[in-house]
């Protein structure tokens, strides 16, 4: 088993999907969390000047989707066939794209622009993406997004929706998107995930 060291800020953010994959796979890793003040000194030594990074026996990976895909593939959480892997990658890409939209709104300094972006994200983008994800679940017809068991696609969707619903419970409706709502509950109830959720550091983001 290689040694894994994940470095990120002290928050869920873009690293949580990786932590969820490690948790579900029950794979040990160093969960390094740095203070913002430490970042400028660390930044030049990272491959792309951003976090998270994952060090695997000396190799340094960056880009959270690439890291997530790697850890998932090493632990049977990527999908079994090339088509399943492609569908999982598609779903992770889409939900992470939505998360990026949320972050853009969150970090916008201009208050008026921030309000517009936030409104658009919650009133237009979210319902659209939710409906599209619901259709994907319906098509796969197993309760999971891909194949017949949990993959990192399910974990990624859970990650973003649990963030969104924590502040906006109405953002996920069991009436409008029953399969999606059920999926979020299913992931939450996975024993390894539930254990991580109960012991992970409680942070604002």
């Amino acid at each position: 088993m290689p040694s894994y060291k994940l470095t990120y800020f002290n928050g869920r953010g873009r690293a949580e999907i990786i932590r969820l994959i490690f948790a579900q796979a029950k794979v040990a890793y160093e969960d390094k969390r740095i203070e913002f003040a430490e970042w400028p000194a660390l930044k030049p030594s990272t491959p792309f000047g951003c976090l998270p990074i994952l060090e695997v026996d000396g190799t340094v990976l960056s880009e959270s989707k690439a890291i997530a895909s790697y850890v998932a593939s090493e632990n049977g959480l990527q999908g079994n066939t090339n088509l399943e892997k492609a569908r999982a990658q598609m779903i992770v890409g889409v939900i992470r794209g939505f998360q990026d939209t949320l972050y853009t709104a969150l970090f916008e300094k201009d208050e008026a622009k921030k309000a517009t972006l936030t409104k658009k994200a919650f009133e237009e983008t979210l319902p659209t993406v939710s409906g599209q994800l619901e259709a994907q679940l319906k098509q796969n017809a197993t309760g999971w997004f891909v194949g017949e068991k949990v993959t990192y696609a399910d974990l990624a969707v859970f990650d973003v929706f649990s963030e969104v619903t924590a502040k906006n419970p109405a953002a996920l409706s069991a009436e409008k998107t029953p399969l999606l709502a059920a999926l979020v509950e299913k992931v939450k109830a996975l024993p390894n995930v539930a254990e991580w959720l109960s012991k992970r550091p409680q942070t604002g983001m």
Binding site: P47, G49, S73, A86
Partner: protein, 225 residues
């Protein structure tokens, strides 16, 4: 023996999935997929839609996330260009041998995407000419150079950057690098040297030339729309 061989080839052909790529009649987000198919001589339907045809298709809900390109593989629909090209790489042998190499390749694909989103779609949306010019200048002067520096350093970790980007054989990542800078240069109507300067990124420049010199790719580049 001839009959056995014929049966083998026939059943192999019968087992090959049918690939249908749908996009607009431009290079854009589908070009890398087209490059990979053409380079590996993999038959595929290269569907190019007019706007009205897309509106019709969109209404059917066939595109899972309401966007193009989509790749249909025996009926299953994949969307998002990165999932499409990763898939094509897997089935055409243009992917790396080890999980860590694949991860480094994925990392580079995400990095290239991060560069692109700094320009797209704003470049195509912005109507004010002055703002658009400012966007372009900022992109070329402030956004691209730090990324190029990081990509060059990352490349050099692989055997000094004298071969292919990951591992020791050509992969879809090499084509992606070529395609990205080719796309940026032709979209912005700027010389590629401005985006990928030889003095700042000699290894990457050499890589792009190495990719362009691949005979099967060269043949496609000469005839492509």
């Amino acid at each position: 023996l001839a009959r056995v061989l014929h049966t083998h080839f026939y059943s192999r052909r019968a087992r090959m999935p049918s690939y249908k790529l749908t996009y607009f009649d431009v290079r854009g987000r589908a070009e890398l997929a087209r490059i990979l198919f053409h380079y590996t001589n993999t038959p595929f339907e290269d569907i190019r839609l007019k706007r009205e045809e897309w509106e019709q298709l969109k209404a059917t809900g066939k595109a899972p996330f309401g966007l193009l390109p989509i790749l249909e593989v025996d009926g299953t629909v994949i969307s998002t260009s990165v999932a499409i090209v990763t898939y094509i790489a897997e089935v055409t042998g243009l992917t790396s041998d080890t999980p860590l190499e694949r991860a480094r390749g994925n990392m580079m694909m995400d990095g290239l995407h991060d560069v692109a989103v700094a320009l797209i779609p704003n470049y195509f949306i912005e109507k004010d000419e002055a703002k658009k010019a400012e966007l372009v200048t900022n992109f070329i002067d402030k956004v691209v150079p730090p990324w190029v520096e990081k990509f060059e350093a990352f490349f050099k970790l692989n055997g000094g950057g004298d071969g292919w980007f990951v591992g020791s054989k050509v992969t879809y990542v090499d084509f992606a690098i070529f395609n990205m800078f080719d796309f940026l240069s032709s979209t912005l109507q700027k010389d590629i040297n401005l985006l990928l300067p030889k003095d700042k990124a000699p290894k990457l420049v050499a890589l792009v030339e190495r990719v362009k010199a691949l005979p099967a790719l060269d043949a496609y580049l000469k005839k492509r729309p």
